[in-house]
């Protein structure tokens, strides 16, 4: 590909192993001009400022779909340049003013794309002002970490969002079955005496939302699908042409419900960790392409929320800065290759949010992540950059670390 001379000086990211979800892997130089990708080149053009990538990997910056907190140091450490912010803020993001503020506070280093509340106060009763929120910067609407119990309301949310071409980001857990539950029904929950819901609570919710998405023609993104039955439903719906995407976090891929043994509140997640059979089904779903999006579910929770009896503790994990290292285990295990991984980390989440980003194709914003895929380190809850170190992976040795990060060609 040739690069024509432009007005601004070019920046050449030389000596890089380029990873693009669309164009695949290449070794060479990436040219950036005016904050946008101009193209791959074998050599460095004479007029360009050169950044030596030292033979490391250069990929699109991570787009983390569905974070619960704006935690800049954690996102920076995790190689994340854009986040889809969950509407579960206090107050809920159901108002254009709140949405606009959220969409601006991260710039220029971090672009926050709010997911507006689909219903007022996330209560699942009245539709929120989706169009006004979209004009204020919302890139999708969502149910938050909650379930809209009334199928009539959910149907209207989906059809109204379809009119605006906004994806609906849904949390798939049947509220009746999951009420009061803090774990997945099974041996671990029984031995610990924890209130538990059957894993089928997810498939029930997935099935309903898929039927409604099919009925209304809306774009549905299931933020986390974690069970074999859930994946089967998604596969079948996609085969029928339903516009559905789904995501998962590394925790549900790498841990099963035994991680909550000894009442480890850092492993209290929503949806809860599943049994081993469902975990293996999730890995299969990653390998066969059923899973579109890999996200961190970043939700830092301090000791006042986590140092409590298990059932009283808040759900959630600080996942942003461990996302890349844990995701790279999928590549090392041969489930996906690097371009496929960055399709899950960057391209697919950008598409859910209707963003032109997440690849290294010419014209894309130069959101770039330079990382070392093999650098070894140990996840330590006490030394994390995040607002709190509530990671279920505390103490785990991992490989893969972000080195440098650029947003729109500007180093962060």
């Amino acid at each position: 590909m040739s690069v024509t001379a432009g007005s601004a000086p070019a920046v050449a990211f030389a000596n890089a192993r380029l990873v693009c979800p669309v164009q695949g892997e290449a070794t060479g130089t990436l040219i950036v001009r005016d904050g946008a990708v101009a193209g791959f080149m074998a050599d460095v053009p004479a007029d360009a400022a050169v950044i030596d990538c030292g033979g490391k990997w250069l990929a699109p910056g991570i787009v983390d779909l569905g974070v619960f907190a704006v935690d800049r140091p954690a996102f920076r450490a995790g190689g994340i340049v854009r986040v889809g912010l969950m509407p579960d803020q206090s107050p809920a993001l159901d108002d254009p003013g709140l949405v606009q503020r959220a969409s601006l506070i991260g710039r220029p280093d971090l672009w926050i794309h709010p997911i507006a509340a689909a219903t007022r106060g996330l209560d699942g009763i009245e539709l929120a002002e989706m169009a006004l929120c979209a004009s204020a910067g919302a890139r999708a609407v969502g149910t938050g970490g909650r379930w809209i119990a009334d199928s009539g309301v959910m149907a209207r949310v989906l059809s109204y969002a379809r009119d605006l071409d906004l994806a609906v980001v849904a949390h798939a857990e049947d509220g009746g079955l999951a009420a009061g539950a803090v774990a997945t029904a099974g041996e671990t929950a029984t031995r610990l005496g924890l209130s538990a819901a059957p894993a089928a609570a997810e498939a029930l919710a997935v099935a309903r939302d898929l039927m409604l998405a099919e009925e209304t023609g809306a774009r549905l993104h299931l933020r986390q699908v974690t069970t074999a039955a859930g994946f089967a439903l998604v596969r079948a719906a996609r085969a029928r042409g339903v516009a559905v995407t789904c995501g998962i976090t590394p925790a549900h891929l790498l841990l099963d419900d035994r991680a909550v043994s000894d009442f480890r509140t850092f492993a209290r997640l929503s949806p809860p960790l599943r049994g081993e059979a469902d975990r293996l089904a999730a890995l299969t779903a990653v390998a066969d392409g059923t899973v579109d999006v890999l996200c961190s579910g970043h939700q830092p929770q301090g000791p006042e929320a986590k140092r409590l009896p298990f059932a009283d503790a808040e759900a959630g994990m600080a996942g942003a800065e461990t996302l890349l290292a844990l995701a790279l285990t999928l590549v090392r295990d041969g489930l996906v290759d690097l371009p496929q991984l960055f399709a899950m980390l960057s391209r697919a989440p950008a598409r859910v949010l209707n963003l032109s980003a997440g690849t290294l194709e010419p014209g894309m914003p130069a959101d770039l992540l330079l990382f070392d895929a093999y650098a070894p380190w140990r996840i330590e809850a006490g030394t994390m950059k995040a607002a709190a170190g509530n990671t279920p992976f505390d103490g785990l040795p991992v490989q893969g670390r972000p080195l440098r990060l650029w947003k729109g060609g500007r180093e962060v």
């Binding site: 099974g186 929950a189 009442f263």
Partner: protein, 316 residues
């Protein structure tokens, strides 16, 4: 021969989970020695000068009383902290309360809490031994020990005995601890409940689940009835108390299916619901004996757990 700390190396008693069979038997032997001590001997007061705090975050009458009497018989200074008079009501967190109790230099803490895992959380933060008097629906180890002791004394042993546990297993810490203790001691345990009150995957705890009480009673050596909380009787988990009695009430007619079975209940009983008065007060009943065992078992646990503090030979 192993003796002293080597035979019971645990600092706390948080549950039956994690105890070896010989450690359970050691506690039973310690308790039984107290029961068999001659009545005319002056009581030994090994815990004289030690402070025992009973911190009960959940209402209790008999367990609290049992721990209090056990502690006082051992000579300990026993202080009770009930939830009503504690600052928990003022929003103090569990960890802060634990640190406060710790700063008061208790020598042993006895804790009951409504949340599973809460007692372990406190135990991790304090310097003295902690005894779990019931945490949520997780464990109630002293109840399981006193039940095991009752069975052993009445039936002459536990191994190979068929024990039926019937009632609200889903919400019962008594059931969990009993399943762990009895299976560790090689009893054959059957659990019986309507499916709405049966814990998922309970067979993974090496018990056989039954929904038909009559079938479960076949050949039983002991029947342990569990209390059904009134708020769970009226439609939430079972349709009504009278329907529950029809299917799971231990009536004289039903007991005739296992005529020699020992009848047990951790109390307090709903007479006429899970157990009929004729059975509770009948010749098979070991219910009042369980209460007597409770004091002995709790005294044994308080004694054993404080031996390190008291620098008992072989334990320090």
């Amino acid at each position: 021969m192993i003796a002293g700390r080597a035979v019971f190396p645990h600092r706390h008693l948080l549950g039956i989970q994690g105890l070896q069979p010989h450690e359970i038997l050691f506690l039973l032997d310690e308790a039984e020695a107290r029961l068999d001590a001659p009545a005319d001997q002056p009581p030994l007061q090994p815990l004289r000068g030690l402070t025992q705090i009973n911190a009960f975050y959940e209402n209790s009458t008999r367990t609290l009383l049992s721990f209090e009497i056990a502690g006082k018989r051992l000579g300990a200074d026993v202080v009770n902290m009930g939830v009503a008079q504690s600052s928990v009501k003022k929003g103090e967190t569990l960890i802060d309360t634990a640190q406060t109790l710790n700063a008061m230099r208790a020598d042993i803490l006895v804790i009951r809490h409504a949340s599973s895992g809460a007692v372990q959380l406190i135990a991790d933060k304090v310097d003295c031994p902690v005894l779990n008097a019931g945490d949520g629906r997780h464990e109630h180890p002293t109840q399981a020990l006193l039940d095991a002791l009752t069975i052993r004394r009445r039936l002459g042993g536990i191994a190979g005995k068929r024990v039926v546990i019937c009632g609200d297993l889903l919400h019962s810490r008594v059931a969990r601890s009993n399943i762990l203790a009895l299976t560790a001691l090689a009893a054959e345990v059957r659990v019986c409940a309507p499916s709405t009150l049966m814990p998922p995957a309970v067979e993974r705890m090496f018990v056989t689940p039954y929904t038909d009480f009559d079938a479960a009673l076949d050949g039983a050596h002991a029947v342990m009835m569990l209390r059904l909380q009134t708020e769970r009787m009226d439609g939430a988990f079972v349709p009504s108390p009278r329907e529950y009695r029809l299917r799971y009430g231990l009536t004289p007619e039903r007991l005739a299916l296992a005529p020699h079975a020992l009848v047990m209940h951790p109390g307090p009983m709903n007479r006429g619901v899970e157990i009929d008065s004729a059975v509770a007060d009948g010749p098979n009943s070991a219910i009042t004996e369980q209460v007597a065992m409770g004091v002995a078992v709790r005294a044994a646990c308080l004694d054993v757990l404080t031996r390190r503090t008291r620098r008992v030979e072989g334990w320090a």
